[in-house]
């Protein structure tokens, strides 16, 4: 497993060093969250009703930010070729990339999410639930996003293309996560929602790297 450790450390260093680490994603998240009351009108009751959901949605969008460069830098400077030919399977490298992205961007966003939600008017009691769903859902966003990033390698219009590809894949975690938060707020069964969200994230974690590796090999061919 030391091979994986090396890969992970490399990816962590790359994604942390890239453009100030998670700061860009966090700033984008805060900015989108600020725009929401401006768009919806500041009426507290209305904002509070949609606060958890919109915080969750903005999180999904913020996760898209660092995706474009996930594979592209290695693709451009030939490192991806080496990873493809190297001793470790490309799937493992893809896994490491997405995991690193989750650690450096997804997790900080998950910490910020309850703050954003409360700032938008959600009751503070929801904070732990929002943080947990954001953390678990973040895995899904990172790995699905990775699929989009790998598929768009070597194409024009990378960033927007990734978003368009990835949005259908984001639908289930958004629905499960927001649903779980809603259920928690209403005092209903939230465990099912959280389990479904976790199941989805685990599925993307397990299957995503295969799709990503296939897409990378395609781009390198």
């Amino acid at each position: 497993m030391s091979g994986f450790g090396v890969l992970l450390r490399r990816e962590l260093a790359l994604s942390w060093g890239r453009g100030g680490g998670p700061l860009l994603a966090l700033a984008f998240y805060a900015a989108t969250a600020t725009l929401l009351p401006l768009a919806m009108g500041p009426e507290p009751a209305r904002l509070a009703a949609i606060a958890p959901g919109s915080a969750w949605l903005a999180l999904a969008l913020a996760s898209l930010l660092s995706l474009e460069r996930l594979f592209e830098r290695d693709y451009e400077d030939g490192a991806l070729d080496l990873l493809a030919l190297g001793p470790a399977p490309l799937e493992l490298a893809a896994f490491a990339k997405c995991l690193a992205q989750w650690i450096t961007a997804g997790a900080p966003l998950a910490v910020l999410a309850p703050v954003v939600a409360i700032a938008l008017g959600a009751p503070p009691s929801l904070a732990p639930m929002i943080a947990v769903t954001a953390l678990v859902g973040g895995i899904g966003f990172s790995f699905c996003g990775g699929i989009g990033a790998a598929l768009s390698l070597g194409s024009r219009r990378g960033g927007v293309l990734i978003a368009v590809i990835v949005l259908p894949l984001f639908a289930p975690p958004v629905i499960f996560g927001a649903g779980a938060i809603d259920a928690y707020a209403a005092g209903l069964d939230w465990k099912t929602g959280l389990m479904l969200l976790s199941a989805y994230s685990l599925e993307t974690l397990a299957l995503g790297p295969f799709a990503m590796a296939a897409a990378c090999r395609n781009a390198l061919s």
Binding site: S152, L161, I165, A171, F176, L196, N218
Partner: protein, 238 residues
């Protein structure tokens, strides 16, 4: 039969007669279907809007059917590295998107007078919407990659990922709706359908399928010609 079609020449020979035949069948079935459609007596429940159902249900069915065809073609293209299968998959996408758009639009126009709302976030409609987004993403990816072989493979991977994703989306909305028990169930089929409704519905569905078959074959033929033209141009230049 599929193996026989795998050869481009055999495919061209087959589609040369199959495409116009399917087109003619589609036209006849469409005429018959529309006649059955407008001779069916609207019942007191649905009123005249039942006529929208006759073109909504076939469109919705086709959006899924084409998706399935696209998935199979993608799988075959990916596994067997078959250019014709790749072409078939990419040719199906715009047709699928068209049917999905019709399903969404006619569904909306049907829902407003029937259930009082233009849209409802139930499992079926939401899945069709996500399916539409998938088609758009697929076509965008196809357009964004210049190299044809690479575009085919990337699209095939996306198609297989999407194929797994759609049932999950459907289930997620089913689950979400069980939380919010209040939301009405948007039933596209409604109570047991009388024969006078079933006849136009089935006829129009078959008409849509024949039309898809004809258009799909012609689009694949275009692909074959396009590749031929590209190869010949390359040879002439080189």
């Amino acid at each position: 039969m599929i193996a026989a079609l795998a050869n481009p020449r055999a495919f061209m020979r087959f589609s040369r007669w199959a495409a116009p035949t399917l087109g003619a069948i589609a036209a006849v079935l469409a005429a018959a279907g529309l006649w059955l459609d407008f001779t069916a007596r609207p019942d007191y429940q649905q009123g005249y809007t039942v006529h929208i159902m006759f073109i909504h249900v076939p469109a919705a069915w086709m959006s899924l059917f084409v998706y399935g065809c696209l998935g199979v073609a993608s799988f075959l293209g990916l596994v067997f590295r078959h250019a014709l299968a790749d072409a078939a998959a990419r040719a199906a996408a715009p047709l699928g998107a068209g049917f999905t758009l019709l399903a969404l639009a006619t569904g909306s126009l049907w829902g407003r007078p029937m259930w009082g709302t233009w849209w409802v976030w139930d499992a079926r409609l939401t899945s069709v919407l996500v399916l539409f987004l998938f088609y758009l993403g697929y076509m965008a990816l196809d357009a964004a990659i210049d190299d044809e072989a690479r575009a085919s493979r990337a699209c095939a991977i996306l198609a297989l990922v999407g194929l797994i994703n759609l049932p999950i989306v459907h289930y997620s909305v089913v689950w979400w709706n069980t939380l919010h028990q209040g939301s009405s169930v948007f039933r596209a089929d409604g109570p047991a359908m009388p024969l006078s409704y079933l006849a136009p519905l089935l006829t129009l569905t078959l008409a849509y399928m024949a039309a898809f078959g004809a258009l799909w074959l012609v689009r694949i033929r275009s692909e074959v010609w396009r590749r031929r033209a590209a190869v010949l141009a390359l040879r002439a230049a080189g």
